[in-house]
Symmetry: C2
Subunit: 535 residues, 2 copies
């Protein structure tokens, strides 16, 4: 739908010499093309200047009803419409903050509205509106690594320069302390808890026209089950990424279109989502995040929608959220910090290919166990069974040997089956854990670059002060803010290292225990077969 | 060498309408072409008629010295020459009874003779004479299955018809009794024993120009070691096949030209030869065979040569050897025998493809363990080691995890090594055992066909008697001889079945025990790795 109006949420400075259009928070823009790729819109501002700007920086201009008030009919139906998007289980990410509405959709919306008014609000919008499949390719790469994320980061200036005063509510404040050994750590708040994902099941809507998988989440602190779909996870993930630019967000399992309703896939997806949830629950900041809390707790549909809309409108995100970080104001030793962060940066860069390789190895082993090795053992089993059968002949005197051979054949067959089933206990969980770490590690360079760019800006300002073009007080304040960014990064580094020492350690132990139990099962099978032979 | 003369050892009736020349034992023939393929010679008899006849049925006309007398110079030197052939370790079978001498060889022989007279008999013939490499392709198929063996069998008539009276010395007599359950069995004679093959080593002659592998054989009854080469085994095998047409002779390991001097190959060849020797030692007839006895015991070179020549001239072989079989003369129930032999024949035919498949499976598994699986585990090991190394970073606090990961990597590497080494304890011995049975099973149809053809001939004679063209007494005698053939076959059937019940049973148990110990070793390796992790 061309020609509709959006409001800029943030400043965006277009790169000179490109087609990018600089926009200023609050101004109204007219969209000419919704999706020109990679989350960009084409449009023009009120002075008629046209160009590209990030879709994530603008918001559709809605009805004038206040957000906090109870829902109006218009909002409710609009809510229904937006929510309908959630029925689409195509699992193709809706990762853009701004999703434009097509003509067709608007018509559908009106139809929905009309039927709504007669069917007392319970009608389901017709399915033509689901034909809008975003053109973004399905992507396995962490979302931070795109142009869009770079743009978000370039906005850190407003925090660094203190040009934007943001009022942070108490509940949103994050605390960093220094440990005995001088390391920055997130101050944990509240009891640690977990959230268990169970019973994925296929559900359908629109008389079976739409199918999707619903997972049950039960937090350990309240034991109340909520139902969530992959799509909801995807929405949550996007909120977390936008809100916490200083935290590498663990990735969701890769998107998949084919075979999504196969039992094996669903169960594996459940364990993958569990890995994501486990990581979030273990993280001192993410586990206390309001949007995560809402995701994990909310059982009421209306409150769910309200909370969802509130999260989407949350402005305390990206670089703004640095304003919420509370830490001591002792100035950091710039050189020591630089050495530490450089070492960490090299460390992360060195890990990246190794973790990718490790994960690929684990995935490969899982596949080989399920297919190649299973087949090999079944071939062995078949050979023993055939031999037993052929040696038997007509002579009943020799049944003992032929029976033993058949038992051996069955044992090898069973071992083949063990090989097929085993990966879900060892190689798959290991691959799933390393999928999480691979994502974290890929995201870290972006997180580190926020710090590096802040350091660079402080250096620029130091020069300005030396040239008497800037006040010392201003630099001092900026320096404090740079330290906040540094301490945030170092708290994340500490968290990553404790993950490594505790969680990777545990994952490896579990893997080896499962492998041991697997080979012991093989030994048992073979011993059973051996017992079938007589002297 | 064309134009040389040979003496026919046996009658041979050429097929009408073919190029085959009928020959009569004792007549002198002139050879025109030595090797026209498949063990045939082309030549003409004293009446000038020419055609093809089996090389195995004739003998080169040598000096006039009597065979039984002590060796003359001429014989000794000729012996040296023939023996020289044994220096050639090409392992291409010299399976023809008659190997012609080329002009070049004769010259070489004369040179050897001359040098002999000066060097007091210890000279080594010059190596030009080794250039005679037979044109027979290297063959894995049992030798019985060729034209040559069919010819041997066609000669059984002389035994059946009693046309050839053969004096069998007491030591050559073979005894068959009927067991309590009515089964025919070979009467075992003497204590059972074994013969252990050890320490294969590479030796060379002619200043390193000729290399070969020498195996040490030690029979358990005298504990005296003898040295034998593959070539000697090949010679022995040929003697056994010619002598015992009613026993399926276990095959030797397949011939191989490339990689014969690699340690792994030599060791494997040793175990394969051990399987052959084990089978011979377990066989009630073969284990008492004079040629085998000579092979296993003789340590003196001169006696070795004499015994070798004697074995080659042994006329009590093929169908003649049925004369040596001693059993009760109760007439067999022809119908019962036919049913039993038919069932056994079907049984053998059914086993044939299954045993081939089983052996192929075992060979395939051995190869996969040594290559594919070994590589897979080494890849896993490498991934763990790399991860350990990459996670280590600069921080010595985290050495415990990274150390544990490296221990895990080494454990998987070691497991890869176990996979490489394991087949020689389980899949290879199993494959080697089934190589023996595959050979036995492939040979059985030929052995069975001797019986079937005898039965057919008896039926023909029964018709002749009914038509009064043959005397009843003659048929009765022939029937007795047919029963001898049947009892011989049934004794072999009994032996095969006891091999199955005792030896295959034992082989399977050993295999499973080795497999169990293998997987237990893997469990131990993984447990070692697990112990490297701390809580």
């Amino acid at each position: 739908m061309e020609g509709h109006q959006v409001r800029a949420l943030y400043d965006f400075t277009g790169q000179p010499g490109t087609a990018e259009l600089s926009i200023i928070a609050g101004e109204t823009l007219t969209v000419m093309r919704d999706n020109v790729g990679d989350g960009w819109c084409e449009g023009f501002n009120q002075s008629g200047k046209s160009g590209l700007f990030p879709a994530a920086y603008v918001q559709v201009i809605e009805s004038s009803a206040p957000v906090s008030s109870s829902m109006t009919v218009s909002q409710q139906s609009s809510g229904d419409f937006w929510d309908d998007d959630w029925d689409d289980d195509s699992e193709i990410g809706q990762t853009q903050a701004y999703v434009p509405v097509t003509n067709q959709q608007q018509q559908a919306m009106h139809i929905a509205l009309q039927s709504n008014s007669t069917d007392s609000g319970n009608s389901i919008p017709i399915h033509t509106i689901h034909s809008v499949i975003p053109e973004r390719p399905i992507s396995n790469v962490p979302k931070k690594n795109n142009k869009f994320s770079t743009i978000i980061k370039s906005g850190e200036d407003s925090f660094l320069l203190g040009t934007k005063v943001i009022n942070v509510p108490e509940s949103e404040k994050l605390f960093i302390k220094e440990n005995e050994d001088g390391r920055c750590v997130w101050v944990p708040s509240g009891e640690s808890y977990n959230c268990v994902i169970t019973s994925p099941k296929k559900e359908s809507k629109l008389k079976g026209l739409k199918s999707f998988i619903v997972y049950q989440l039960t937090p350990t602190f309240n034991n109340i089950q909520v139902s969530r779909r992959y799509k909801h996870f995807d929405w949550l993930h996007e909120r977390l990424e936008q809100k916490y630019c200083f935290i590498p967000i663990p990735p969701l399992p890769d998107k998949q279109i084919a075979g999504r309703y196969e039992e094996q896939f669903i169960e594996h997806r459940r364990t993958q989502l569990q890995e994501f949830v486990d990581y979030v629950c273990r993280h001192p900041v993410l586990s206390r995040s309001r949007v995560w809390d809402h995701f994990m707790i909310c059982t009421d549909e209306k409150r769910w929608k309200a909370g969802k809309r509130q999260a989407e409108k949350d402005e305390l995100l990206g670089e703004n959220y640095f304003n919420a970080i509370q830490c001591i104001d002792t100035p950091l030793d710039a050189i020591k910090v630089e050495i530490q962060i450089d070492a960490f940066s090299r460390y992360i860069n060195g890990l990246d290919p190794v973790v990718k390789n490790f994960m690929a190895m684990a995935v490969d082993q899982a596949k080989k166990h399920q297919q190649l090795y299973k087949r090999e053992f079944q071939k062995i089993g078949q050979s023993f069974c055939s031999l037993g059968h052929a040696l038997e002949g007509d002579d009943s005197d020799h049944r003992r040997l032929t029976h033993a051979l058949k038992v051996t054949g069955e044992a090898y067959n069973d071992i083949g089956h063990l090989y097929k089933e085993q990966p879900k206990f060892d190689w798959e969980p290991l691959a799933d854990k390393f999928h999480i770490y691979r994502g974290i590690i890929s995201n870290f360079p972006d997180v580190i670059s926020i710090h590096k760019s802040a350091i660079q800006k402080r250096k620029d300002c130091e020069r300005l002060v030396a040239e008497h073009k800037m006040e010392t007080q201003q630099l001092r304040e900026m320096s404090h803010r740079t330290d906040i960014i540094a301490r945030t990064l170092m708290a994340e580094e500490t968290h990553f290292q404790s993950e490594r020492d505790i969680h990777i350690n545990q994952a490896m132990k579990t893997h080896l225990q499962e492998q041991i139990s697997f080979y012991k099962k093989i030994v048992n099978k073979l011993e059973e077969a051996l017992n079938a032979y007589v002297d």
